[in-house]
């Protein structure tokens, strides 16, 4: 059975960065669309 990668390994850091790169457009577009479709 394969062990979990160490928390501070370069691979783990890269994996976290990729996760943030996936979250970023989601958060920005969902928030901005909600903001822009809310009429004042």
């Amino acid at each position: 059975m394969m062990a979990f990668a160490p928390l501070r390994s370069p691979d783990r850091i890269r994996w976290i960065v990729v996760g943030l790169a996936l979250v970023a457009p989601w958060f920005i577009l969902a928030y901005m669309d909600r903001l822009l479709r809310r009429t004042r």
Binding site: M2, F4, S9, L22, P25, L29, D33, L36, R40
Partner: protein
């Protein structure tokens, strides 16, 4: 392809305004999300992770299931079959877009296919930037008239362009 995937979500939103962009964006990135989750334990993306997330033989049924589940859960709120098919199409757009930028699996024992434009880092990034701008212009037309004039609306394309160019600068293309 990276930020370019989000442009397909913008395009779909401009055509089907009942469908939430908060759903369309993760659907557009769904194979990358699946790959990321599968790689979570060891953090190293294996050939098996790539196959299960990006192979055509998995992408097509997943796209249909996502559209069907969305329709089943939201039909009482006015979501129709065309809206659900749009969600499926956005899911499928991931594989189609990746075909141009990378090489993707098809089926077990099948060929790896794609044009692999990632070989040309900056031309590929510029092509994605152009795609983002075009889809943003289409999306912008779907906004209420007063929102189109708001300066803050530029956050959408600028943030996507920054993310894309940062990805290219780091030479860390997404799958």
């Amino acid at each position: 392809m990276y930020a370019g995937h989000a442009s397909f979500a913008l395009l779909a939103k401009s055509r089907r305004q009942r469908v939430s962009l908060a759903l369309l964006v993760p659907v557009a990135f769904a194979p990358d999300w699946i790959e990321w989750v599968l790689a979570g334990r060891t953090t190293v993306v294996t050939t098996q992770d790539k196959f299960l997330s990006h192979a055509l033989v998995f992408v097509i049924p997943c796209a249909l299931v996502v559209g069907l589940v969305y329709w089943l859960l939201r039909r009482d709120r006015g979501i129709n079959a065309t809206d659900a098919l749009t969600v499926s199409a956005v899911y499928l757009s991931h594989w189609a877009a990746d075909f141009f930028t990378a090489i993707k699996p098809t089926w077990r024992g099948g060929p790896m296919v794609g044009l692999m434009l990632y070989r040309y880092v900056w031309p590929e990034a510029l092509a994605e930037c152009l795609l983002i701008v075009v889809c943003w212009l289409v999306y912008k037309r779907s906004l209420p008239a007063e929102s189109r004039k708001r300066e803050i609306a530029w956050v959408v394309p600028i943030s996507l362009l920054v993310l894309e160019l940062a990805s290219a600068a780091l030479h860390q293309p997404m799958s």
